[in-house]
Symmetry: C2
């Protein structure tokens, strides 16, 4: 199961904080019943475009991962929560919304597990 | 642009190799015109189920990432190539297919960039 979340109108201070990103990545796996296999990895990115800096972070969980990319100047966040087992997607969305003060979110859910084949929206080859 | 690739009937030796995964993560960003912001992180996972061990790895690129999870006992690979800019998706698929000897792949492409809103397949809130 792969939950893709794009969050809008977030809290700029939270989107700017490496600690807020790290804490989410550190606590989220246990909250959704998953096991970390390495500590979170978080870093700050300063790109050539003034609006494109932010915080990127990643944590590996058992055969899957959770990632976050923030764009404070755009008040935007991209998150992926990907697990080979089902989890509480609405709960994860609410946790993300609350931690980053997101006014709205847009989500995509792919049934991408060991029991399922993904639904191809654009199939190059099959 | 977020390319999701599930690959089947791969080469077991390649799917088992941390070095093959690391090399793909190390070279792929430049091949698709992206910039790494940290070295690849790769680790081996041994789960409670005999079939669920494998190699997991990711690399952070400018405000996005590339990740790989392999399941050698299932000859399966999951990859995500996520960039805020468009890239050569068929080329990336071919590179992945070749490096891991995948007999078939199933792909999903999300227009998830700074200029686009994602297409929600399941919207919890909007």
């Amino acid at each position: 199961m792969h939950l893709i979340i794009d969050g809008y109108e977030g809290d700029v201070d939270k989107l700017t904080s490496e600690e807020v990103v790290r804490e989410f990545l550190d606590l989220c796996p246990q909250a959704i019943g998953m096991t970390k296999i390495a500590p979170p990895h978080v870093c700050r990115y300063m790109g050539p475009e003034p609006t494109d800096w932010g915080i990127s972070g990643f944590v590996l969980i058992a055969e899957s991962h959770i990632s976050i990319h923030t764009f404070p100047a755009r008040r935007l966040l991209w998150a992926d929560i990907f697990s080979c087992r089902p989890f509480d997607a609405p709960g994860a969305i609410e946790e993300l919304r609350s931690r980053f003060g997101l006014a709205s979110v847009q989500t995509t859910l792919l049934e991408r597990g060991l029991e399922h084949l993904p639904t191809a929206k654009v199939a190059y080859e099959s």
